[in-house]
């Protein structure tokens, strides 16, 4: 079962697709290639151009004085990068990491600079071509759900993918630690 995901593609295949997507995944309008992943029962997508690589969960060094969804930092071949738990960030119940848990390493544009960040997700699915016509404007939900993070909702193959604007999701975490201990 290791590496096998929903569409029967392995993580390796998905990673190769990510690399290929980087080469010709330029988006026109809001459509383009998205890397899809799951959190609980929901399916999400992020623009593949933002994704650098997908790695297995590794030893994460905790950093003090940060919100609980910031898991800490990892050593990515000599680079120190922060890792965010998207489950906790979105208010899902915390879950033990499984063999399908992955870290998506992405480029995030902060107001001042571009940084690499890792995002922990339940499992990575595939690289998906989404045409502009498949993307629906985000409806106003009201209540708890925040729509500021969303690029839109895509209806592909009978399922709904929630397309995320990673810069918005992670941008507000650009600088932590200003709060008192």
């Amino acid at each position: 079962m290791i590496g096998a995901v929903n569409q029967g593609k392995s993580v390796i295949e998905t990673m190769l697709a990510v690399e290929a997507g980087g080469a010709n995944g330029a988006t026109s309008g809001s459509g383009g290639k998205f890397l899809t992943f799951t959190l609980g029962n929901e399916e999400y997508g992020v623009p593949v151009l933002k994704v650098r690589e997908i790695i297995k969960v590794m030893d994460i060094t905790q950093v003090p004085q940060v919100p609980d969804y910031v898991l800490g930092v990892i050593n990515l071949r000599g680079k120190v990068i922060p890792v965010i738990d998207l489950r906790r960030k979105f208010g899902f119940a915390a879950m033990e990491h499984t063999e399908r848990t992955c870290i998506i390493v992405a480029d995030v544009d902060l107001p001042s600079m571009r940084v690499m960040m890792g995002v922990v997700v339940d499992s990575v699915q595939e690289v998906l071509n989404v045409t502009e016509s498949e993307i629906e404007e985000t409806p106003e939900f009201g209540g708890r759900a925040t729509t500021a993070y969303l690029l839109g909702l895509a209806k592909v193959k009978d399922s709904v993918k929630i397309l995320l604007d990673l810069d918005r999701v992670l941008g507000s975490d650009g600088q932590l630690g200003t709060r008192a201990v």
């Binding site: 030893d59 060094t61 905790q62 950093v63 003090p64 004085q65 940060v66 910031v70 930092v73 990892i74 050593n75 000599g78 680079k79 120190v80 990068i81 922060p82 902060l110 001042s112 600079m113 940084v115 960040m117 975490d173 650009g174 600088q175 932590l176 630690g177 200003t178 201990v181």
Partner: protein, 576 residues
Amino acid sequence: MSDVNAGGPDNELGAFIADPELAGMFIADAADHLGTIEATLLKLEKSPSDLKLVNDIFRPFHTVKGNAGVLGIASIEEFAHKIETLLDLARSGKHAIGPAEIDLVLKTVDLLKLIIEELPARAAGQPVTDTSARRRELMARVDELISGTTPPPSNKAGFTTPPPPPASNGEGDRGKGPSVRDEQSTVKVDTKKLDNLVDMVGELVIAQAILAEDPAIAGATDDRLTRRLAHVRRITSDLQRDTMAMRMMPIRQTFQKMARLARDLARKFEKPCSLTLIGEDTELDRKVVEHLTDPLMHMVRNAIDHGIEPPAERQAAGKPIAAEIRLRAFHRAGFIVVEIADDGGGLDTERILAKGKSQGLVPDDAELDPADIHQLIFQPGFSTASQVTELSGRGVGMDVVRRNIEALRGRIDIHTERGKGTTFSIQLPLTLAIVDGILLGVGSDRFVIPTFAVQESFRPTPAQVQTLQGQVCMVQVRDRLYPLLHLGEVFNIAGARKRISEGTVIICHESGRVVALAVDELLGKQEVVIKSLGEMFRNIRGIAGGAILGDGRIGLILDTGGLLSLVGKTTSQVAA
């Protein structure tokens, strides 16, 4: 807004905005050249008839003008051209250089620096200093000087041109250094790329060390394998030395800034003095050089304002009227030492002690030896200047200097002799990229504390741990009580030992303050490459960065100053 865009959009910056790369190069180049010009001017001031020096000023000046022309920045070109006219006459011997000319060109350099520094802001449409009046004034001065209708220069009475420095310091020869160096073939590299390279080489050095210490290899008896490994080690250490050298730069530019400052201050305070520079070629890590400028400026100011006696007093004491300040940089035992020495009155021990008592820094009945008293000048809020002047005496002097130097992982010492003068010596590490650290364990987490911050470590007895209202707060070491910080608790680390007497206590110091750190265990010494945790974690208190440890995990590097600010925040579930 400056005059050039008074009539509409800033149309002379078209090319500057269109080509950011060229613009960046222009600014960097101009800063280099203006620095060289400034330094050469100070030499010219001492030997005004040296036409070679005039030439050395003319050339870079011409380059700056030309570059501004290429970018189409007419206001700079026009201004520089006018001043250049004067320099041109001077280098062909048709106009004699005097104090007025030197002054004029120095002011020009200052103004050009300002204009060029503000170019990016101007390009972004932000308001900048209006320099048009000052430019016109200087350009008018050129005409006055050339036509010979020279009004007396604004040279203050009482300032004497410093005597030429003794030949023994070798400055005369080195003066020709910069212009020769400019012609060497060099490549400009983005400092980020360079820092990356240094980082990676640092990792390589550590990886190599870990490999060599691996039991499978350390115990190997195969000669060939040992030989090959030794070869790798040699290459690695050569590579490290060479990459480190790339980040090094001579302290010359910083020293030259001091020369200019000393000249201006000597005039201002009417205390003639000469500044002697020794060891300008000593190389330091680029970052160290950058952060050393402010403390040095402060100390040069102090030396002239407080250190040197007024001329009358010097005469009465039988000293030469012109004081001597010596800036010296050299290597000593794996460190770089920068010394600033004056031949002034020395520190007034009694006055410092009296001041310290009146400021409440020491108890009234305290008996301190002179060395301890001298340390008082590094206390925040301490200032003996009886009168607040523009440049010193605001009480934010030496404590800031010490903080800046400690931030560079250096230390500062004082040697002073009443009536003879004072020497401050600053000891700095060769590089900031690697730190010698002690590895600590708390729960399953690993931390690194820089060795220089650690005074001692021990396992305390329960009796040594002092509680206050049932909460652990202090540890007693040989009659002294230190505030205690339980790392596991302030950082909320799962699995940390709750009993302090079962772990280890480390006494660390920073800026004269001391804190005791309770951790689970000491794991050993290790050299680590300091890595920034990035923008996201910039404001985390008590953490200076991260380091990649032997097993590939990241250990957080502790920042003693930040830890001090956490003292007293929590302590509830810890027992002695």
